[in-house]
Amino acid sequence: MKATIERSIRNQLPEVRGVSDWLKSFADHHHLPLALRHDLDLALTEWLTNVISYGFGQAGEHLIRIRLACDAQTASIEVEDEGRPFNPLDHPPVDTSAPLEERPVGGLGIHLIRRLMDSVDYRRDGDRNVLVMVKRLR
């Protein structure tokens, strides 16, 4: 049976730490392994930071909806925001073998999300971005 919880936050960076605490409570309640909850926490932190930092320009307060779910096979995170369209899967991959002198400073957050999660799916739903990140329980 799938367990699901949902909440919304404002597009303010200090809200992200509260989301991590909320995720930890969910992971504790469902006895998710420590390594898995770390990966979920990091992927969610990276995506929320990206959405809040770059998704809305200067225009006012917006809500970002987050849904956590898990069953016997997977844990998943869905994030929905009304920011400008942005598909992280279109972002070019990071060349991690390049010398640090030549590495671009940006793009690491999306790189980490793709490395940490077993699947990442994006869709534009009306005026909303919806990102679904899934991690298999091993």
Binding site: L13, P14, V16, R17, S20, H38, D41, L42, T45, E46, T49, V94, D95, T96, S97, A98, P99, L100, E101, R103, V105, G106, L108, G109, H111, L112, R115, L116
Partner: protein, 104 residues
């Protein structure tokens, strides 16, 4: 996130504990910059007790790794925790930035 600063041989060690998220990355940047401006030959960022390392912190490490190198000095990450080590490895930073790292 506590950051303790202490002399270490030919440089200064910054011992970082806990969660190195976006807000903590800003604190780390302030500390690294202060040590760099003090003229330290080497900066050692000890991540043995860092339980979480995000891309904002990676950007700080990369930025000041470059600045130190360009001025004939060095910044090293030392003793990364398992969590920090995994992120450094995934990012391609580990072998070039972690003191004594062996490629794997």
């Amino acid at each position: 996130m506590p950051i303790n600063k202490m002399p270490s041989g030919d440089g200064t060690e910054l011992v970082v504990a806990g969660r190195l998220d976006g807000a903590a990355a800003n604190e780390l940047e302030i500390e690294v910059l202060a040590v760099m401006r003090s003229g330290a030959k080497n900066i050692y960022v000890n991540l043995a007790e860092a339980s979480f390392l995000c891309s904002a912190a990676l950007r700080v490490l990369l930025q000041y790794w470059r600045q130190m190198k360009n001025s004939g000095r060095a910044l090293y990450v030392t003793k990364p925790s398992a969590e920090a080590d995994a992120v450094l490895r995934m990012s391609g930073f580990r072998d070039q930035m972690v003191e004594g790292a062996q490629p794997r």
